[in-house]
Symmetry: D2
Subunit: 363 residues, 4 copies
């Protein structure tokens, strides 16, 4: 599988390709019918064939190259940045002049508040002017048209995507009120490709634990987007988001449960309508609804699909009903590289599902 | 390891010993310094040595016997019932006349409401008079003295124990107000020893999902005990419990996260004091508190220990602070057989930790 | 994703589509660029959409149909039989008159010896004349041309494929001599989609064990093919195959280690040449050789790729050197449905890798 | 659980207590009825309570101390060295003068050949005179009496124990002839407490692979002991050991399969007699024999028990029968710390099983 010139295809580059996100980007771009992967840069493994790091690959014909961003972007239509948080942002001045469209997978361009950035990422943003709106947030379910027009897309975080897909329809409908409690559990691939204590197999394989308690860095990006969803819906409701992330003993997948209080008067049909109408033209969200299938990780791992289900309690004597929404997705696909490719499809005018609509494997 | 007469020891019998709960009871009783396991009855595997079913055991000198309850209880000091829900209750008339103390591990004698029983177990209780209080609820952290005096103890459910240990101190202190949201994830041993779809390895090993959404049968027993904790504290607060159980891909352990709203005026120190004072003489609860260790399953699996930790948000602009409490325990030990043995120790006047205070294995 | 008429595509049917093999066949056929999946029959789940059983799928536009084989095969170019052992064979008279090409995934048409069939499958073959050679054995690495000409293909077993790919090159080269010892471990999906004791999660997740000790039903099919490889190589050597299957706690993948004695005079280069020349035009076998990468399941799970590596001891003082060959593949893909599609590609004159050359996911 | 003076108990110290082996030693010594754990030294985590590293422990009353070996050994009856390979050996001069009995868990004193040490551990032994026999090899099944008399015991490796228990009876009986092939798979705890690439959860949880192919450092210690078993049996047979280690995706446990050729004339009864008589007074080996239970990890994890089973082929036409022996044990217990405590029991004149005879947990 060499990479010959394919003049009729768009060309893409991956900058930072040795991690799990990079591996997924490469996997999807190599298989994409309308896009050719031109090159992959990195700062380690330089000169090695891709398949010597990503053992899953075969004869890619590509090696990791250590080259400046401008050279990586030379002659390509789209550049993916698969760099760690706080590294992407340092490249802002080099990104600015690029002709190529750019999709960043880090957290560095997702926020609009320099204070939030500092609070959650622990440092001042080196180029805070990049939080001014020049980066389009890459959640196609909310911003399909904007992404299609964008030159710079900041792709959402894995937990953030999982939770936003549960809450955005409610926010837009004016139903997000009061304290909102979320527990979301992630597989270990979310911690990246380098071994560390939290992903040491003898511990992780027998463990369930919370971490970054009520303090995860995806919280401000969720809050920002919920606010924009309210604006879009022409509503303004008071709510507070309390998110407890958890680690779980599997490699891939996130399951989130979000608790939202409804007034007694809100009906089951109303909630059903909110979710079904919001996702009526969604490319990848499968709305199961109450009493039908439940969202589960095994059904979506390795794929772009998102499962969404919910349950509503009877009025509980405290003036409301409890809504609990479950969403499940693959943290590296819809929660990562795949969602970035979905944005790329939109930015290049390609069908939204092109090249990324395979089912999960069963089991 | 034959079972000779040990006249100086108390004698125990296990009725229904082929499941995982039975295995744990047998394991702990065989090793108990003050109690001898006299016999184990069952309706299947009759005549087989215990070690032919529980492959972990060696030369127990005991076989599964199919005998009436009265015979199983004959000459022993304590009988453990390790039977399925809706089977224990049918034995109520046979339990009544027994001289031996009885500890039941099913859900059949945990409630005080026949309506709740029917709602959550799907059938009328065959002997509803047994829900009148004659069975002491076996949560030693709340009822140590009562258990020590009891002749009949109904041991709590695994999820229920995990969640009650998070919420009972708050209930007793008058701090349990408003909607309370709980997500608790369990290992697969909670589903019992017989293979079924939800514990089919190819699916379970890659899965996270919710089930019995806001509708788990442990909910009414938690509510009952929270009410009694309020009475004990001389308080009465309005709250509603919304519990989402989850299955997780490990064999043992439960982690629960419970969200409780606090008023702005409640201080960190106040919460710290509530938990620390409640558990100051607790035999097995390790209170880690905010900002210290977090509750995690790997630290307690296979043991009686319970880890409890919490975090409190700053005032969130909605008139309150969000408290999130995590508890972790082993569903088959502190959440099952081990807790029953803890009650037995109290009932027989033995030290509460005797025979059951081993640490977890690491890892 | 409806299934419109696609007149330029070949048409395929799957008979017996509710198991894991069926799920993989459906997944690959739905995505195949040159073949359309026309229908899926089954005896259970009749009338249900495919995606209600294979939760990984979305809007297939197909339901499980209970129809006779002749109707399932009506108007299609190729029929896959995804039926249990001892069920496929009963359909032999119905298969005979079909115009469509047929690929059977069971063990029922893999052998040439009625005695072996009875010994390993426990029953007389109901149509022993079908063991006469009318079914081509579907191992493309050995029979590419024969498969391309065949109307009936019997696709190999998962363990058999893993082990044959290690041993066939040696057999053909006349190097397979003396006792050959094999240990191969499989993931739990090899046991099928229905829950049973051996795949009960609480046990399987913590277990390693052997089963069908030196007695697995794939043994005779391996022996048959090794014999044919010798004939092809114009050699005849005495050997005996001793295969110990093992179950391992993961969902997918097989790793086999095969021990073959070499004479002292056999050189490393000679073995290297045997494997590299045999697989020089192989579509999916990656030959890593001694001292390079080792075969490992994580690198191939979910894909068609096979990793092959080996090590040779120094002369060990007993007149020989010990060769140990490792092969790894996915039991449901190259060891199952994917290999059947590989045969289909050859039978239909399509490129051998078409539609099935995706890399594994990493991780 | 403070550590008061317990004058009637023996006293023990652990040197190097922060790893998994150290954790198991501490767990077993804290619970031992006749031995008190006096102190635990380490070079990291100094000053921390044991339970801050081994989260499974509670109120041990002990902290990690950084003290010279002589001080650690001061006033205690037995010292356990839980240090890495190539660290224990550097302490040889300090060990020499100690009055306390010493049990070393590293590989540094297991061999009798300085060449083997250099070959397999990569360095010259710093004190090669310590390979002269002054350290008793700590395999109680072979050396019970010698251990009881020993002042210095070198405890066997985990793989080595698993494989020796399969092969030693055959070696002693003169039945170990020709090439012997072994595949043994280990859980991830065998790699120690520090995170590394091979135990990175996202990879390990989906992987099976071989490593240190035919070259594992336990090989020479197995060969040494097999030779001594032959001497004890008054036999001398030619054989060669070829051992392929594997990593498996579980935390604890080893399963080994060993292939030994038997002459046609060897009967099933003869093999049965060899194993049963050898282990007739064994403290922890459960001999299941052919056609009965198979050795499996889930039955022994967390315990001292060893399961041993085997199968013998019919004469295979090559002048022999193939014997395949499976053994299963817990790498950290019978394959590590527990076996060291078993030696300690013998050295102190205590019952061999004292304090370490608990069953595994089920499941």
């Amino acid at each position: 599988m060499t990479r010959p010139d394919q003049p009729s295809k768009f060309k893409a580059a991956v900058v930072g390709g040795t991690g799990y996100g990079g591996a997924e980007l490469i996997r999807m771009l190599l298989a994409h019918p309308s896009v050719a992967l031109a090159r992959v840069s990195s700062i380690d493994q330089v000169g090695q064939p891709l398949e010597s790091v990503h053992l899953s690959m075969t004869d890619t014909g590509l090696t990791f190259e250590e080259i400046p961003l401008a050279d990586a972007a030379d002659g390509v239509d789209v550049v993916f940045l698969g760099l760690p948080h706080k590294v992407s942002s340092t490249l802002a001045p080099e990104i600015e002049p690029l002709d190529a469209k750019v999709i960043d997978l880090s957290g560095d361009f997702r926020l609009r508040s320099v204070e939030d950035y500092k609070t959650y990422y622990g440092e001042d943003h080196p180029h805070p002017e990049h939080l001014d709106g020049r980066w389009q947030f890459g959640l196609p379910e909310l911003y399909r048209d904007e992404i299609a027009q964008a030159r710079r897309v900041s792709s959402p975080g894995c937990f953030a995507t999982t939770i936003m897909l549960a809450l955005v329809p409610l926010a837009q409908a004016g139903l997000l009120k009061g304290p909102v409690q979320v527990v979301a559990s992630t597989g270990s691939s979310g911690s990246g490709a380098y071994a560390k204590a939290g992903t040491h197999h003898p511990i992780r394989v027998n463990n369930l634990k919370s971490y970054k308690h009520l303090n995860h860095q995806h919280t401000p990006e969720i809050r920002r987007i919920l606010g924009e969803a309210m604006e879009r819906g022409g509503v303004k409701t008071d709510y507070a988001l309390h998110f407890m992330p958890r680690s779980a003993p599997l490699a891939r997948g996130i399951l989130s449960t979000s608790f939202v209080r409804l007034e007694d008067s809100v009906t089951d049909e109303q909630i059903d309508e909110v979710f079904r109408s919001f996702y009526s033209d969604s490319a990848f969200v499968r709305v199961h609804g109450a009493g039908s299938r439940t969202a589960e990780v095994v059904a979506i791992k390795g794929s772009m699909w998102v499962d969404l289900s919910w349950v509503i309690s009877e009025p509980d004597g405290l003036g409301g009903r409890q809504l609990a929404i479950d969403t499940a997705l693959d943290n590296l696909v819809k929660g990562g590289a795949g969602q970035a490719v979905q944005s790329m499809n939109l930015m290049l005018g390609l069908p939204e599902r092109e090249g990324i609509d395979a089912p999960a494997m069963w089991p």
